[in-house]
Subunit: 195 residues, 2 copies
Amino acid sequence: MPKLGMEPLRRRQLIEATIEAIHDRGMNGVTMGDIARRADVSPALAHHYFGSKDELLNATLRHLLAEFALEIRHRLRGTPAPRDRIKAVIDGSFGAEQFRPAVISAWLAFYMQSLHDAAAARLLSIYLKRLETNLRHDLKALMPAQEAATAARGIAAMIDGLWLRAALPTLHSSPEAAIALVDDYLAGVIARHGR
Amino acid sequence: MPKLGMEPLRRRQLIEATIEAIHDRGMNGVTMGDIARRADVSPALAHHYFGSKDELLNATLRHLLAEFALEIRHRLRGTPAPRDRIKAVIDGSFGAEQFRPAVISAWLAFYMQSLHDAAAARLLSIYLKRLETNLRHDLKALMPAQEAATAARGIAAMIDGLWLRAALPTLHSSPEAAIALVDDYLAGVIARHGR
DNA sequence: TAGCTTTAATTGACTGATCAATCAATAACC
DNA sequence: GGTTATTGATTGATCAGTCAATTAAAGCTA
């Protein structure tokens, strides 16, 4: 069996399995056995590649951040118009990958973790601040700085709220509806404060 | 020690202790020992009054819902003007009790639980829908039904998002700032669609 | 190219710790 | 004497982490 170069593949598999496992066991309820079963390997292998459960969970959180940042960056590249850039951030936030139930669960677990884990809190708040900064920067091209700052916070909060509600299966919300709501908010802000 | 009538007191103590314990151990990471220590009783007593860890956690979730519903109902009582009623819902959502870090943590844990626990999901979505219905009903007095429905979803989402962000200590957001943001959104919607 | 060595990949079996749940015992009240 | 409150001790299960053993590929040598 031992083909060489398995490490990157296994790491990816195990991280993906961790996301799925968190989805239906919760951040702390998840066991190395759960994860390993989903990745079709032995629990020992997870320890072999990640050293400990904590490191595997951390790697998973960092993976979420990286994927999201990549998605946004990809959409922003080659998009110079402020209004389009704002739209790109909104669309990216509700992109297919971010809307997967298991991914939303993992993000929620990440928030939960941040409440009592300083390292996770630092990572998460960096991402949140960068998102807001991006929005504020482009909004400033459309309206006075004061209003831009307020609108950035409002849009960021609304995105998080819609995404939180999307996590609940019983509310069956669609990405399209979420995008429409934020777009509407943005249009209103521009109508009132835009120049 | 055994004075009679300890049961209601102990139940309250244990539920409060559970909220605190969830705050710094996470929903699944919390142990009966953690909870009991915080309530200054033995783990066995928690089992005596709640039967199992699951039942204690369920009781805690139901406590959160009940407290929140009570707070909103209290603020709505004797408030007939639609605009004031909407404000009451917003203010209630960011009231002192709901802004306690431990309470926000417990709410987050509740959301997390809802992802893989149908009973919790049912409870939570009932509360979310009722909140939105309340908002929509009063908004309809101020604008056409279509716009009222959209605004209700937007306000509800923004409240959840702001509250989610308030959970992060590093973002140090205040209830006043959150209220101001939602008020601003509401004012904009009324300015555009109000009659 | 046939053998020999090294190294990566992988696992089953084991260990020690933790924890939910049980229960019998004790203590104070009526 | 009966009831409520409370606990310490115990048990059985679960789980993270370790380790020695196994497999197979890759590299080396003559």
